[in-house]
Symmetry: C2
Subunit: 132 residues, 2 copies
Amino acid sequence: MDKLYVGQENVTEWVFAEREVRLFAEITGDQNPVHLDSEYAAKGKFGKTIVHGILLAGLISKVIGMELPGKGSIYLEQDLQFKKPVFVGEKVTAKVKITDIHKNKIFTLETNIYDKDSYCVINGTAKVLYEK
Amino acid sequence: MDKLYVGQENVTEWVFAEREVRLFAEITGDQNPVHLDSEYAAKGKFGKTIVHGILLAGLISKVIGMELPGKGSIYLEQDLQFKKPVFVGEKVTAKVKITDIHKNKIFTLETNIYDKDSYCVINGTAKVLYEK
């Protein structure tokens, strides 16, 4: 495997459509109507159903666990600032960048998610254990 | 609805079994073998497959979006410290407590998850918008 380095970045696109949102609601029990009920959402501040913030964070988890640092990664910390809602079915792009590598096994990462207009919808950082 | 108050707490138990973990892997793409592959996990530091940390955080999202503050809640911030892995199928308990209420609509919450031995496996705080 190529050596990982500070500044290395992964960019991954994903779509959380109605099926993904409904399954996430089922497996976690989070049936908040802002995510599931179009009529409820139509009366609310965003007008349409929005993806669960933690489901969006699942895309960061995917990048960390599959790409950067990669398989075998163990989460130590994740912080998330939700800047703007993402509508169900809207394409998002995760950008994960290594900002520090400690003793060749503790990785600090910048973990942001952008919407289709390149607006940062989640701003975050993570700390991950990755030993290879 | 009863008035929400600082110090108010909700306690919710949940189990993320193999089905939930596999569905989360599917909807996010996070197929990290530490969560899905028993043989891989047997050789690793924990010995068994573990629940995705972000899926565990989904239980906090459920409590916030369904119970405290409740339906209609919108996430503003969540930070998570993963203290100890949770094995697939192990019962966990989320404890969410209101620590501050700002202008009757911005709620700060302590958001912890405990394992079956009452060990804190996720330590976190959240900020949520909730207008009623």
